[in-house]
Amino acid sequence: MSIEGPLVFRALTNEVAMNQFYRALRAPLLFLSLLCLVACSTISPYNQHAYELSTSTKAEALSVVSKATEDYKLHAGEVQALKLNVEKAYEYTRGFPKNEDVTQMWEIMMNESGGALYGFLKDWKQDGKLSQAFVSEKRRQISKQFDEIIGLEGFKRKVAD
């Protein structure tokens, strides 16, 4: 021990050994930074499919919502297909770790007692058809609600680019 200590010290003070020592640090540092990029992330990164699901579901939802001035029974199949796609998007989003914000936004959309998409579809089913003024206002609101989901996925994309 008493011999090794000074030897190591002398070797490190040597210019060549110092350079070797610092160069040896390069790989662990790069590894550490890569590790941190993964381990330190607080939110699920951008996912192209999640983004596409949110935009295509919005288009489909707005198209179905526009028809709510007509009899629900005529469009029951379209409503079921829309709900299936919303649930697919939700399940896909929920599968990613650290993705609670987007997952909760989908849950709000799917809440039948709320004022978002599923609440609207429930009202339509109950009433048979809805007034033009209400449908127009609700369509605008549901569009904004979808934009919150799409906006966050889009922000992730902007950062990833």
Partner: protein, 109 residues
Amino acid sequence: MSKFDEFSNEWLTAVESFSLKSFKDFKEAAISDARDFFTSSQEDLRRWADKFGAGELTQRELKSLVRGEQDLLEMHALHQSGVVKVRTDMFVNGIIDLTVNTIIKVFLV
């Protein structure tokens, strides 16, 4: 001045400048976003009140729209929470890059 002192000085200056810029950008974006959201929400509420007054919307429909606005507000808060997380990741990754680059510049080049 030792290599480590040189690294410390350079790193601290870079971190300070990077942090100031990051927080300034974030603060400005957050204020502008909140202002836009509440202006838009206020316009919606005013329009619905007018339509309700004119008999175009029923009380039940007005209630559904107000409930929807609450949902929208909640979704906006979740959106903002996500944006903060993305920005936090950007900041942390920026600091990591900056630290590694400063070490390489001072010690290895």
